[in-house]
């Protein structure tokens, strides 16, 4: 019964988190002077010179009506909560009017999710593996070396890593495309091949930075755990180092790392935005940037709402599986 209460409380927090986050996102862009209608007129004007005054006036009027920007802020907010949160219907994109925001996000979301999931999971696994070695076998030269590498890579600003990879592997060596081109026509094999080619550099750059962090945190965690009584005692019991590392040190430190994984997802998402922009990888990150630059309220709301929901849900899931890996929570 206690467990049910735990689950219930977590789900409530999850819902509240999303609501607060989304409300924040809804009001922020509307507090600033930028206006999607002006922006669209500006775009038309800047590509074809001066616009006839009469035409500008009539265009402005019709766009206001079409974009549904006439109602009061509160009305817009209520209808957004109703449609956006409950049905994931964010209305039409303003920069690609009248195509629904949902349709556009649907095209790009899988790529961002794929990249993020793959790199997050791999960097978590690799980082924790190396971190465990480094923390558990502190004295070995190889662990010191790996940790040193991690310390040097981790703090390097993300875009610098990405830039260096791009110049070296795409430009000088030509192993990978300069920009992520994914061939969506011509069959599944071609698609997968091009997807892999396009994802490797962005993936590796995310991996490098991400792994560094996991190495460092896992190292310090497992270093601490390795000095706990139960690990020492396991050693006195004559257990093999491998067994101690796996079943005693790793299992006890990984619990903390699982929580940290959930907490880090927001950061991973930010990192993936930078990757997408630098490598031209098609995804929600680039979409957000473009939407912001063109004050496409609906698109901004859509993308960020989805990412908030995704991250909050991932955190929820982690919290819900947490008892499975930590019996102390399960039984108390």
């Amino acid at each position: 019964m206690k467990f049910a209460k735990y689950v219930g409380l977590r789900i409530l927090t999850w819902a509240l988190t999303i609501w607060i986050g989304v409300t924040f996102i809804f009001f922020v862009p509307r507090m600033f002077p930028s206006d999607p209608v002006e922006n669209m007129i500006g775009r038309i004007q800047s590509r074809s010179g001066q616009m006839d005054p009469l035409e500008m006036e009539s265009l402005r009027k019709s766009l206001r009506i079409q974009f549904g920007l006439e109602g009061s802020l509160l009305e817009q907010y209520v209808s957004f909560l109703k449609k956006g949160l409950l049905q994931f219907d964010f209305g039409p994109s303003l920069m690609s009017f009248p195509t629904p925001v949902g349709d556009i996000i649907k095209t790009y979301l899988p790529y961002t999710l794929g990249l993020m999931l793959m790199t997050t999971i791999f960097s978590w696994l690799i980082g924790n593996f190396i971190g465990l070695q480094a923390g558990f076998r502190k004295k070995q030269l190889s662990s010191k070396f790996l940790e040193g590498v991690a310390i040097c890579i981790y703090p390097v600003p993300y875009f610098i890593v990405a830039l260096v990879l791009q110049i070296v592997f795409a430009f000088l060596l030509g192993w990978f495309p300069l920009q992520s081109t994914i061939i969506t026509m011509g069959g599944f094999v071609i698609f997968i091949k091009s997807l892999l080619r396009a994802s490797i550099l962005p993936g590796v750059s995310l991996l490098l930075v991400g792994t560094g962090w996991w190495i460092i945190s896992m190292k310090s965690l497992s270093g601490t755990v390795a000095e706990e009584d139960f690990v020492l005692y396991a050693r006195y019991r004559g257990l093999s180092e491998g067994r101690i590392g796996w079943s005693y040190v790793l299992r006890n430190s990984i619990i903390t790392q699982v929580t940290a994984l959930a907490m880090s997802l927001g950061g991973v998402f930010s990192g993936s935005i930078m990757t997408e922009i630098i490598f031209g990888y098609p995804g929600v990150g680039t979409l957000i940037q473009k939407a912001i630059l063109q004050s496409d309220y609906n698109m901004i709301l859509g993308c960020i709402t989805i990412s908030i929901v995704a991250i909050a849900t991932a955190t929820l899931i982690v919290d819900l599986i947490y008892p499975l890996i930590d019996p102390r929570i399960r039984y108390s």
């Binding site: 310390i151 600003p157 610098i160 907490m263 927001g266 930010s270 930078m274 957000i288 908030i308 991250i311």
Partner: protein
């Protein structure tokens, strides 16, 4: 001091040396009189490094060395403001939540969790792109600070929860001290030790966020920061024109500063845990 030097680990020492060096550049060298480094055509353009211009000049005739000094200064200032706000607010909210418990704790934690979960970069992009018109160092720092308090407050809360159980707090409680007083006299010293390490961490991440925004072209246009310096050099194609003396220093400075701060943080934490272990 001597015992500190004796006990400090190599990391802490290296981190301290690097960080102090940057503080020296940013807050001492910075005040040596020099021409406004932003100003164009102060010197001939594209000079190679020389004694007069340690890192040469840019395509706009600015002295790279002084740009770098100013950038370090501004980046550190942004970092410190953000870290200060984040740490102070974080400690306050965390302590409040941890000690009040009940409904207030729940509410504060839901809000905190929200800010941990919301992906910060898109919102920073959003806010900076909308308010660039009026952005200054302070404003930039304030925006970055929106996301800098949540994580510390979570940590401080759990620290508070565990401290709450300890004897001396009970004693203080029973001896009739109020919550606030207990917090100030008994808890804060603990929290402060932790805060110092958080402060450095927050500085680091604030500088990183500012740089990321700058590289997206979203930092204020005349703010000389490390990120903006990299961005300006990139805009003028310094990478491909081999003006390494221009794009190199801010990148190297960023990396070294980051590694330095990072070593300082981890070294300091190791030092603390070693001290506690004694």
């Amino acid at each position: 001091m001597t015992s500190f030097l004796k006990n400090a680990n190599g990391r802490l020492k290296a981190g301290l040396v690097i960080t102090l060096f940057f503080l020296f550049l940013g807050f001492v060298v910075y005040y040596i009189p020099h021409a406004n480094p932003f100003s164009y055509n102060t010197y001939p353009r594209r000079l190679a490094p020389s004694f007069g211009h340690f890192f040469g000049t840019t395509s706009m005739g600015q002295d790279v060395f002084w740009l770098l000094i100013e950038a370090i200064h501004n980046s550190l200032v942004i970092g410190f403001i953000v870290a200060l706000i984040g740490t102070v607010v974080g400690v306050f909210v965390g302590l409040l939540a941890g000690f009040s418990g009940g409904l207030l704790d729940r509410i504060l934690m839901v809000i905190t969790d929200t800010f941990v979960v919301i992906p910060s970069l898109p919102i920073l992009i959003l806010m900076t792109s909308l308010m660039r018109g009026s952005a200054t160092v302070i404003l930039m720092a304030l925006v970055l600070a929106i996301f800098s308090w949540a994580w510390p407050s979570r940590q401080i809360r759990s620290l508070a929860l565990s401290l709450k159980e300890r004897d001396f707090v009970y004693t203080a409680w029973f001896s009739g001290e109020g919550t606030v007083q207990v917090i100030i006299t008994e808890i804060l010293p603990y929290a402060l030790t932790w805060s110092l390490s958080n402060f450095m961490n927050a500085t680091l991440s604030a500088i990183a966020s500012e740089s990321a925004l700058a590289v997206l072209g979203l930092s204020p246009a005349n703010l000389i920061s490390l990120g903006n310096m990299i961005q300006w050099a990139r805009e003028r194609n310094a990478i491909f024109t081999n003006q390494w003396n221009w794009i190199g220093p801010p990148i190297v400075a960023t990396i070294v500063l980051f590694v330095g701060l990072f070593l300082l943080i981890t070294g300091y934490n190791d030092y603390l845990s070693m001290k506690r272990g004694r």
